[in-house]
Symmetry: C2
Subunit: 432 residues, 2 copies
């Protein structure tokens, strides 16, 4: 055989360290798969990384803290970026691709924001760019959209793609705890970061949905195109009502296409409690895809963690190594079709759950129903519990039939100004 495939690794955190371990521990199996050995030739690290136990077990000559030294190292066919975040990761990827190296990354933010341009850069330099680990950890998702489902016209994606929020929502649903104590528990267990904003506000999910929707619909979907709401305003009362009405509450990343109009949004959603996605608990991820030929297909697994992520990263390394061995210099990038437009959130049609506190007096429901009726929103059901006689207030919950988001927002604006409405406590969209 003689030949070998050289890998350069940027980043030696939990993912980078695990990738290095897998390349070493499974060298024999991977070589059998590719037809020649895959050899880790250089690791670009931060000084602090050198103190990690795993780094100290490895040949010290593999490591460098110097970016130029890393990129000047000869014999690197494939660069693996495991740094995360937009910068400096983006510049590493650009430098690797421009230098004629194939690239593997797990970086959802960079791919979501710059995927089309990076693919074009890879094309110019005749190299490959892969990022299976960027969405859903070790669950195969990028490859299915790029290859296995290629004959389908994809109509919908419903995805639980953030384990942190799904863990928090699961605890809230099962134990009746409030958001802040569920978050605290997630932080204690290492499922949520000290600064959890990216996860709980749905930003992480928008990066991942941007990638999936771009691939599925052959459209350039940017993170900023995606309407997003987080989970921090969900109350334990919402979970109780959801259960009573036969629903679960999940943070869903939703993407739909109809006649070239692409709808993309991330927000808490009521979904039927007997649906598969309602049963996805804890840190697990699940992605439901609907296509004209496949019907419904669902992918489920651990969406994060060093091991699942390294599974996807190493699979990408193997695929690129096979291309090197087979003499394939470059595969096609994102295939963007002309004429696709992103539908504004205001034009989305969906059902709504609305919880509010109203004055406990006659005629209240009539006033509310009138406000809805004026905007052509039809009420499907109403729950009104015993009034709090001391406060002279009652809580009511309304489920609507499908309505236009803009109409609903206008109706909400009017409801807020009714003197009988003391508080609009929450407002959650429904996918049935």
């Amino acid at each position: 055989m003689g030949k070998s495939i050289g890998v350069g690794l940027i980043g030696f955190g939990v993912v980078g360290g695990e990738v290095a371990r897998v390349l070493s521990d499974k060298a024999k199996v991977l070589a059998a798969q590719v037809g020649c050995p895959i050899v880790l030739r250089k690791v670009k690290v931060l000084p602090a990384d050198l103190k990690r136990p795993r780094a100290r077990q490895m040949n010290a000559g593999l490591f460098t803290t110097d970016e130029d030294a890393f990129f000047n190292e000869p014999g690197i066919d494939i660069v693996v970026e495991a740094v995360g975040g937009e910068n400096p990761a983006l510049s590493y990827l650009e430098r690797a691709l421009s230098g004629g190296r194939h690239v593997v990354t797990s970086n959802k933010e960079v791919i979501a924001k710059h995927g089309a341009r990076l693919h074009a850069l890879a094309g110019q330099h005749g190299v490959g760019l892969r990022y299976e680990a960027s969405v859903g950890g070790g669950i195969p998702l990028i490859a299915p959209f790029q290859d296995d489902l290629v004959a389908n016209k994809i109509s919908r994606i419903y995805a639980i793609i953030n384990g942190t929020t799904n863990y928090i929502l699961t605890r809230m649903a099962k134990e009746g705890v409030d958001f802040s104590s569920a978050l605290k528990k997630a932080q204690e267990l290492g499922y949520a970061e000290a600064n959890p904003r990216n996860d709980i506000e749905g930003i992480d999910s928008t990066y991942k949905l941007a990638i999936l929707a771009s691939l599925a619909f052959h459209a350039q979907v940017r993170p900023e195109d995606i309407y997003h709401e987080g989970i921090s305003r969900l109350g334990s009362r919402d979970f109780r009502y959801a259960r009573q009405l036969g629903f679960a509450i999940k943070l869903l990343a939703i993407a739909k296409e109809e006649d070239g109009s692409v709808e993309v949004r991330v927000h808490p959603v009521f979904i039927p409690e007997d649906s598969f996605l309602a049963k996805v608990d804890g840190v697990y991820n699940a992605i439901l895809v609907e296509g004209d030929l496949i019907g419904k297909v669902l992918f489920f697994g651990e969406g994060a963690g060093a091991l699942p992520t390294s599974s996807a990263v190493v699979a990408d390394v193997v695929a690129l190594a096979q291309d090197v061995v087979l003499g394939v210099r470059c595969r096609a990038g994102w295939r963007l079709e002309a004429g696709k437009v992103i539908r504004p959130m205001s034009e989305v049609d969906t059902r709504y759950y609305l919880r509010m506190v109203v004055a406990d007096q006659p005629g209240v429901l009539a006033q509310i129903a009138t406000a809805f009726g004026d905007h052509h929103i039809s009420i499907a059901s109403v729950i009104q519990h015993e009034a709090d006689s001391a406060a002279q207030a009652a809580e009511i919950v309304i489920m609507t039939h499908p309505a236009r988001e803009a109409s609903m927002q206008q109706a909400l604006g009017e409801l807020e100004h009714l003197t009988v409405v003391k508080e609009i406590s929450n407002f959650i969209r429904v996918e049935a």
Copy 2:
């Protein structure tokens, strides 16, 4: 572009007809994916196929009933076999590969029985062989095992891969009907064939499991290596007891590997009712895979039908067409590792559910418990209902702790000879 990729199709039944439709209707999208058009150049049919409405809409010159004419047709890069069954499909595949054509097939029986040899033949002739549609319809499964999960050591596969039996079991569980009326309904709906033996006896599942296990464990697993039992002896009483004990009954295809020893079996199984697989209803398929890096990953979708099958077939055609365009002549075949052995069914360890009719008299349970104890089988729980005083008989249900299959079979042999045991009504393995 100038160039195009020629496809020859063998078989024009429901799957073949749908593949022809997709190649035609989606020609533009597929050409964009490949970089040049994919053109159907010849269809080998049976005379009766020519009367199908779809055939009459197509150019009559595309069709031939003559095998030699088909294989002598110039400009065919990829042969799609959609005939099914072992013969003559096997000879078509051999002729296509030997003639230097890439091959796509949905034929589980041929791949299960002859996959390794056909891969070797493809290798000799420098062509590709793909069969994504052979297991799980449109659900990506072959590609995940061959590519996406390649860094994993797979330890287990639990699969519902026969929609017919899953439909029947779902009706039996939900409606309390018996096997024969559920089968009749499945036949009326077209979910079961007039001769349903291959499905209900678990034979179809052994073909599919042989393919998955061979790929997952890099071992040659033949259909005849797989222990199989069908679902026809399940009674509605078993479903009632299962529910009472917190289980569902599914026909599972199970594959495990530990230290080079491969366990492969297809039979009805009690699985916990809150597990994902327990919730897979109707004709849907689901495949749960456990690996050292990914943990658990699950694939779910429609496991059969012309549309999902054509999704997988056309994806394979596209993948091979891309290889043709990129100049890739051949990929590696089944990577078989030395030293793997198939564990005999008698050495499998599992838990058991046992339902029997016994004499309604003192000391019966002691005699049964002694028979189990003599074979080192430990009883986990016993359910005994009101006796039928007229018959002087009682039904008892026993759940065991894990035990060796050989021991269990010996114990059952002894129980049968106890005069207090009137009938061993059923015996179902338990995966918890």
